[in-house]
Symmetry: C2
Subunit: 194 residues, 2 copies
């Protein structure tokens, strides 16, 4: 129910206010659910990522290179481990906050505030994870001659493709969490007293 | 001036309200200035980072390794370039938003809202830059045997030390921008009408 300064606006304004609040709440639920799906998919796509390829390795300089079967796994690279962990945290948090939001429906203002603050921390975590995975992924894709780190994506193309897809999916999820904070700020700003 | 529901609180409450708003504004200015200094220092520390060392390189497998003078520069690694760019953007934005905040002093609510939204985008940018630089820095420090990327920080210790310091400084700056958004949300929440 709307109170205070809206009382002088009459019944019509009150109905519009309630309808607006419901529309904002459903947008929040929708975005939160989508963010949950995207971060879950991103975590799974990297978490199950594994590819075995035959790689030429020069063991002794005077002998020709020998072919070795090598397997690329996501937990070989700490940036990908961090990426999976932050997406899993974001995904778990999205479910918990969705349930809490549905149960609360804006009644307990303290809980709504806590959700905005945790959304903000999730934005920071997800963007740092995305940045880390993208930075390492780019070196895997292009290599870096200055530090003599060879590219590996030419040998593990499917592995790299899955990581790239997960990064894009996770960045969209991160943008949705950012949008959730933006909407909450816009909503608070619209309903400010001063 | 406080209005509306505070009118029944009398002059004392009004004075407390104005004092609170001023204290919030000075906290905002202080944090913003500190964030400006930290992101500026982070950008400069990496931007001037350069170290020349003698490195053993095996050019021909049958001949012994020869010593080559190699120089590590920040723009050799795209993650560090991104790190410098986002810190420079954040630093420039901190100055602009500081000047706008000082000129505005909360009068134009639309401008205050725009600053919160841009602060939020700065948080996302800075954390992605910090994550990227930290991920690449860790590989430089420890290497990764799975992809045969050798560590380089044993040869370029000062270079790596400067990058590490800049990452810590930038992360504190990112946390300050996050704190600015948190404070703005808390302030909006405290002054909500509904």
């Amino acid at each position: 129910m709307e109170r205070g300064s809206n009382m002088n606006g009459g019944g019509g304004k009150e109905v519009v206010g309630v309808a607006n609040k419901q529309s904002i709440r459903w947008t929040d639920f929708g975005l939160r659910f989508l963010a949950f799906v995207l971060t879950l998919v991103a975590a799974i796509v990297v978490g199950v990522d594994k590819q075995t390829s035959v790689v030429a390795v020069q063991l002794v300089p005077t002998l020709p290179a020998i072919n070795v079967r090598a397997t690329a796994k996501w937990h070989h690279m700490s940036a990908f481990v961090y990426f999976v962990i932050v997406n899993a945290i974001a995904c778990a948090y999205a479910v918990i906050s969705l349930v809490l939001s549905l149960a609360n429906r804006g009644k307990k203002k303290g809980l709504s505030l806590m959700i905005i603050l945790l959304d903000l921390i999730t934005v920071a975590l997800l963007f740092s994870g995305g940045g880390a995975a993208l930075a390492v992924g780019l070196i895997g894709y292009k290599g870096n001659s200055h530090v003599r780190w060879n590219k590996v994506c030419d040998k593990f193309d499917r592995f790299c493709g899955q990581v790239a897809a997960a990064i894009v999916i996770s960045l969209v999820g991160s943008a949705l969490f950012l949008l959730l904070v933006l909407l909450a700020v816009l909503n608070l700003h619209k309903n400010r007293r001063l």
